[in-house]
């Protein structure tokens, strides 16, 4: 026991000056003043990949900010998660972003960071529209093809699929909580789900992971919301 404590103390002294924890393959050293290879999926408003390969979105902005802090140049690699994650595992990529949720099933291939932002999906309505406490039989607009369609149906609401939350046409609408202010809506008590958002880094690159987590945890939620709103309002056409 005493020997272990002494060992810990000695190790503490040894690593006091150096970087701790260290990467198993030195990703942080490679990224710093070098190239940051980022896998990106199209997941608005977090990330957006245009037809010409230009990337945009809240997390794209954040990645650029991180790269700036580290003095590195970002190299974007658009793709699907199932293609990007194995590349991340083998350290062909240094980071994967795209509105990943903390319960993403990629824990074998990737290490997910601590959640840095939580989004809630709620039912919102124009200020002058009263929404009953029970949604049964109420017409509610919801972006088509999302999990919220099923969540609404489970509450026995009448689902009105729309292309986008802005096309609700005065109905109560399912929307990310952070959009309420932008769309001039009022939040109701109905919450359909919440997601903790994370980024993915190669497993075992703990120095790099800690660096990314420090960056993400230092962000205020207002800042992230502003970026999300900005991503929603600029250029809705691809």
């Amino acid at each position: 026991m005493r020997r272990l404590a002494a060992l810990l103390a000695v190790t503490g002294l040894l690593v006091g000056g150096c970087q701790w924890p260290r990467d198993t393959a030195g990703t942080l050293d490679d990224v710093r003043d070098g190239v940051l290879r980022v896998g990106i999926t199209d997941n608005r408003p977090w990330t957006r990949v245009a037809g010409d390969g230009m990337v945009d979105g809240a997390e794209a902005r954040l990645v650029e900010r991180l790269a700036e802090q580290l003095g590195s140049r970002v190299e974007w690699h658009p793709g699907a998660e199932s293609a990007l994650m194995p590349a991340l595992h083998d350290r062909v990529l240094d980071l994967v972003v795209g509105g990943l949720a903390a319960d993403a099933p990629w824990t074998r291939e990737a290490s997910l960071t601590r959640p840095y932002f939580t989004t809630r999906t709620v039912v919102a309505a124009p200020a002058d529209l009263a929404v009953p406490a029970d949604l049964a039989g109420v017409r509610v607009a919801v972006p088509a093809g999302t999990a919220e369609v099923a969540a609404l149906a489970a509450e026995k609401a009448i689902v009105v699929p729309v292309a986008d939350a802005t096309a609700a046409g005065g109905l109560p609408v399912v929307v990310g909580e952070w959009r309420i202010g932008e769309l001039g809506l009022r939040r109701t008590s109905h919450e359909l789900g919440s997601h903790d958002h994370v980024w993915a880094v190669p497993p075992g690159e703990n120095g790099w992971q800690v660096e990314v987590e420090r960056f993400l945890l230092a962000l205020s939620s207002d800042e992230v919301e502003r970026l999300l709103v900005a991503a929603e309002t600029t250029g809705t056409t691809p």
């Binding site: 924890p21 075992g204 992971q209 987590e213 420090r214």
Partner: protein, 344 residues
């Protein structure tokens, strides 16, 4: 002779046994606490899964001990004419298999991680407004769980020797295994922090090998004990000296020309047969035999339920010395062979 007599520990041993029961309840409380602490620090990670399995296995020996403690002193009856002492042997087998399972699991798990070249991710944690590396918290939690395991293990090992209680001994081994794996894991986390991805798995592999060997020795002992092998010491390392000592003492009686004893362990007590060849012209034979039975039971607190039978001749059969393959030297031979030819 009284049939169905009850066995009770001598007063000092009974006090020790009550202490052992208390220690086992503490052990269960400790393991439940450790599971909670690990759940809070590790979350639902792979490492947490391994710790869960280890702690669940750690609960088996104390639970087996406590269940056996409820049965071991029950009075023999028509259904269980030999009494319930064997419940301790059954508990010993359960505890030994749990130890073996733990060793096997740790070895398998660490080998699988090495082969898959798994690189354990350990990131940041935020606690009370401070952000620091989760590894430090894991090391702290692991170190904290080591302390009670060391203390409980030491106390139980000492008690187990005094009580000749092999379940308790297996449980002490389990506690040793527990703090060793925790120590290995703490070193492994340090290694991961230093950028050595294999450190955790290699540390676990070394400790796992040690536990596996312990588990194999204990399981072999438990199975052999259920097969009525000759009594062995509580750590299963060598034959117990008591049968030999008893035989020598019986032969020191004037009227005993030759004797032979066969004992087996029923949990914490020794049970068996004592054959004696009375010297020619021995009077009051029946009384003497009964007296010898009482005397043998008083010879040592572990001797219980000894059948004493008179015979005219005891034949030496050297072919019974097969035990020599597992033991070494003269200790392996049946007790009577070490003696010079029968006198009288």
């Amino acid at each position: 002779m009284r049939f169905y007599d009850r066995f009770e520990l001598p007063a000092d041993k009974a006090a020790l046994h009550r202490r052992a029961v208390r220690l086992e309840w503490w052990t269960i409380a400790f393991f439940l606490g450790a599971v909670t602490l690990l759940a809070l620090t590790l979350g639902q990670s792979q490492a947490m899964k391994a710790a869960w399995i280890e702690d669940m296995l750690g609960l088996v020996p104390p639970a087996a001990f406590l269940i056996a403690a409820r049965f071991r002193n029950r009075r023999p009856n028509d259904r269980f004419p030999y009494g319930y002492h064997r419940s301790v042997s059954v508990a010993f087998l359960a505890g030994a298999v749990a130890l073996l399972g733990l060793g096997g699991y740790v070895v398998y798990d660490s080998l699988a991680r090495l082969i898959a070249r798994e690189r354990p991710p350990i990131g940041l944690i935020e606690l009370f407004g401070h952000r620091f590396w989760l590894g430090w918290l894991m090391i702290a939690a692991l170190t904290v769980t080591m302390v009670p395991a060391i203390l409980l293990g030491r106390a139980k090992q000492k008690l187990a020797r005094q009580l000749h209680d092999k379940v308790l001994y297996a449980d002490a081994e389990m506690n040793r295994a527990d703090w060793l794996t925790a120590g290995a894991a703490a070193l492994g986390v340090l290694g991961i922090g230093a950028g050595l991805w294999w450190a955790d798995a290699v540390a676990a592999l070394v400790i796992g090998g040690d536990i596996l060997r312990d588990g194999m020795r204990t399981t072999r002992g438990a199975v052999a004990s259920l097969m009525d092998n000759r009594p062995r010491t509580v750590d299963e390392r060598r034959p117990h000296p008591l049968p030999g000592e008893l035989l020598d003492a019986v032969r020191d009686h004037d009227w005993v020309a030759d004797a032979w004893v066969r004992l087996r362990e029923e949990g914490h007590v020794f049970v068996g047969e004592l054959l004696v060849v009375p010297a020619a012209g021995t009077d009051r034979l029946v009384e003497r035999l009964e007296e010898l039975g009482r005397w043998s039971r008083n010879f040592d607190w572990r001797i219980h339920d000894l059948v004493v039978a008179p015979v005219s001749r005891i034949e030496v059969d050297r072919s019974t010395a097969t035990d020599a393959t597992t033991d070494s030297g003269a200790a392996s031979l049946p007790a009577r062979i070490s003696r010079t030819p029968a006198a009288g």
